[in-house]
Point group: C2
Chain length 197, copies 2
């Protein structure tokens, strides 16, 4: 029951933040939309920042789900990376249908908005982006070991490039309100990870 | 005199937005920091949105200044692109010194935050990003004409990749509060624009 309430608060906050921004969403809005009273919300989240961190963690959990599904598959490394990019684009289309507008990268948005705030937020965002980069770097290393990608590249640098490109395209898709913008990602990511000469 | 006041309001609003987010900055904060009264601010900007658009236009003007300086130089096209990326990284370092924290891409931040809002804002942001992409695409076309970049690539798609990468690295630099993250951009952009086979 308590878990259900906490879950409903996080899910509601997440939807409201995606439909607008973190700053736009007040604790009162979350209470109203989730149908809980303020005491109940503050029981689980003593501050708006605590709720913001829970939304960030939830977004990372969902992104990790996409990464797990794509990266744990039995397929050549670059195909696994393609599968992640396809799943990411498909998530953006689903969110657009649900929210009525293209929300942009769920993690990139929070990074752009919340890094400006409390040091705790920025540190947690940096951690999440590093964890995302590490997942991609491990696929890049697999691809290098198979001879599919130039082994002279630093895998972490290349992975940061991939994560940056995904976030940048999230911004472009949001500005154009067009999730199909993300379809350009796959060939560009391949170009960041060229085969050995 | 009126121009001075308008200018002071826009510059102040811009600094406040960069140090936090658009949503965090109220008209009252701008009045206080700029030393103007509310009537004066509303004389120039009838709404916060109008002021937000002026901040966006100012950021684009400054970015266009960087692009003009780098792109109008007498140098091979890819060197001009490098010069822009160097100037962009240097701007980020200067802003970090001025604001005490790495602000991220001045245009990318507004795109991530404001596209979620009024359609006027989103449309203007999309226009600005298209104008930025067009500038880069023209350099890519010059590089292709000289035989420096594979002519089979669509120059506009490649330029969108470059702009996305710059914005994504803006987010990473902000999350890490480290403007030197942008130094990785030049080699990655080159990899997005490979020489013909």
């Amino acid at each position: 029951m308590a878990r259900d309430t906490r879950e409903r608060i996080v899910t509601t906050a997440r939807d409201l933040v995606h439909a607008a921004t973190y700053a736009d969403v007040g604790v009162d809005d979350v209470c109203r939309a989730a149908g809980v009273n303020k005491g109940s919300l503050y029981h689980f989240f003593p501050s708006k920042q605590a709720l913001g961190l829970a939304v960030l963690d939830r977004n990372w959990e969902l992104m990790r789900g996409l990464l797990d599904e794509a990266f744990d598959a039995e397929a050549p490394p670059l195909d696994r990376l393609d599968a992640f990019l396809t799943a990411y684009a498909s998530m953006m289309r689903t969110m657009r249908e649900h929210l009525g507008a293209t929300p942009g990268c769920p993690l990139g948005n929070l990074a752009a908005e919340l890094s400006a705030h409390e040091p705790d937020m920025r540190a947690r965002i940096a951690e999440v982006l590093t964890a995302w980069t590490d997942r991609v770097a491990s696929v890049v290393r697999d691809a290098q070991a198979r001879g599919d990608v130039d082994p002279s590249f630093d895998a972490t640098e290349a992975a940061r490039g991939v994560v940056a490109l995904v976030q940048g395209y999230g911004v472009l898709a949001k500005a154009d309100d067009d999730p199909t913008a993300l379809d350009a990602l796959r060939p560009l990511v391949r170009r960041l990870l060229p085969a050995p000469h």
